[in-house]
């Protein structure tokens, strides 16, 4: 088993570590960097709970080895609200009750952030299709879609 030194940028700050080749990016972020927003659900790439942004794109961090992410820029939910104020997307999830147990929420938030970034005027259908990559077993998705649309409107600068 090989051991590797890796350097990444996580939420804007440089981070490095020494990892076994088999160490997943999810394990590296959560266990070594303490970013506990990274959740382990299925650990086979199906559920999306471990979603993070790597070089600006959503990926499953449970089926990406940390060594593969060497040199990459990584974003987790911790970056959304560095201070006391929630990100508009988080605020919309709270307002619309777009979560119950919260296990899927970090992945949902990052995937939603990407969706809104790609298409600030997304429709309900596009939001629903977009978040189909991430499983939620509580909400039935309706309130998540509501939250994504509301957050998109707010991020476009529209008042509701």
């Amino acid at each position: 088993m090989s051991i590797h030194d890796i350097s990444v940028t996580v939420n804007g700050a440089a981070a490095s570590g020494t990892v076994e080749s088999r160490r997943s990016l999810a394990d590296f972020l959560r266990r070594e960097l303490g970013l506990v927003s990274v959740h382990f659900g299925c650990e086979q790439g199906a559920c999306g709970a471990c979603t993070v942004l790597v070089d600006g794109r959503s990926v499953r961090s449970c089926i990406l080895f940390a060594v593969q992410a060497d040199g990459a820029e990584i974003q987790t939910v911790e970056s959304l609200a560095p201070g006391a104020e929630l990100h508009p997307l988080q605020e919309a999830f709270r307002r619309h009750q777009g979560l119950q147990c919260g296990f899927c929420t970090p992945g949902m938030l990052l995937r939603s952030l990407e969706l809104i970034g790609d298409n600030p005027n997304l429709t309900a259908t596009e939001a629903r299709e977009g978040i189909s990559s991430n499983m939620c077993r509580c909400t039935g998705y309706q309130y998540i879609v509501d939250a994504v649309l509301d957050a998109a409107a707010e991020m476009r600068g529209e008042e509701d």
Binding site: R22, E43, I63, F65, V67, Q68, S133
Partner: protein, 290 residues
């Protein structure tokens, strides 16, 4: 679960990857996007001793028109290929197949060539690639060779790749103007693995079909060409009756296995319906309606 231990190697070029495979022997596997391989490793269904990561090899990352068709490098990501203007122009059936495969976050990381080399007979990209036709470029210690798409899928997860060889690129052959495609699959949900799928192309000239390709996925150990359906189509004027006859021919003689998602009989029925609908779409596109 977590992956079993392995040694990780980074290849900076196709030549370096081939050299590493040759040196490391039978226990080495190529790691591209890893979206099939790593889940299998986490589930402990695969335990290669060495992984050779090719995603940092610039000479494997390309995608674009190459004169005879669309070239897709072994490190080109599915999402990149799916949205590429040359894919939409030359191989829209492949773009449709990719858009039906996995989830967007999986497609950000996964590669087209990786899916082809994985050779899952239920997967989207192998069926689309076989339907449109093309070739696979393989590199090993002895140099490079080309394998026609028709010969690339040998059985469940089995290709003609020899020990020490890797796929460096595939070319999807261009079809002439007047071609329409159809790609349809059915699963329990839009996100599920397809129970069955159909990938078709037809070319019309003077209102008559003069070339047709019909391939089914999920019904056999490989993406399955349906020559009887193609023969029914060629020489006919596109229309509901001939599409029904071709769909019937496509579903005749197949013996899909049953599993928890659907019985063999159900898959057979899906094969017929999906083929008919895909042909209807393809005809509209061939006639310039879409």
């Amino acid at each position: 679960m977590k992956s079993p231990p392995f040694d990780y190697h980074r290849a900076r070029s196709a030549a370096e990857a081939a050299a590493l495979l040759g040196e490391l022997g039978f226990d080495a596997r190529i790691l591209a996007g890893g979206q099939s391989l790593v889940p299998l490793m986490n589930l402990r269904l695969a335990a290669p001793g060495h992984l050779v990561d090719i995603t940092g090899a610039p000479d494997l990352a390309g995608v674009g028109a190459n004169g005879s068709g669309l070239s897709v490098g072994a490190a080109a990501r599915q999402r990149t290929v799916e949205l590429h203007a040359d894919t939409l122009a030359i191989a829209p059936v492949l773009a449709d197949a990719i858009s039906n495969a996995g989830q967007v976050p999986v497609r950000h990381q996964g590669t087209v060539v990786g899916s082809l080399a994985h050779a899952d007979p239920s997967a989207e990209m192998p069926a689309a690639f076989k339907a449109q036709g093309g070739s696979v470029t393989v590199q090993g210690a002895g140099g490079t060779r080309e394998i026609p798409s028709e010969e690339f899928f040998e059985g469940y997860f089995t290709t003609p790749l020899e020990e020490g060889e890797l796929v460096t690129a595939v070319t999807v052959d261009a079809w002439p103007t007047g071609t329409g495609h159809g790609f349809l699959e059915f699963g329990v949900t839009a996100e599920s693995w397809p129970i069955a799928l159909a990938a078709v192309l037809i070319h019309t000239s003077g209102g008559v079909i003069d070339r047709a390709s019909v391939v089914l996925g999920g019904v056999a150990e490989v993406p399955l060409r349906r020559s009887g359906a193609e023969a029914t189509l060629v020489g006919s004027v596109p229309g509901a009756e001939v599409f029904e006859a071709a769909a019937e021919a496509a579903a005749t003689g197949i013996e899909p296995l049953s599993d928890s998602f659907g019985s063999g009989a159900y898959r057979k029925k899906l094969a017929r319906v999906l083929t008919r609908r895909a042909l209807t779409t393809a005809a509209a596109r061939a006639g310039g309606d879409a």
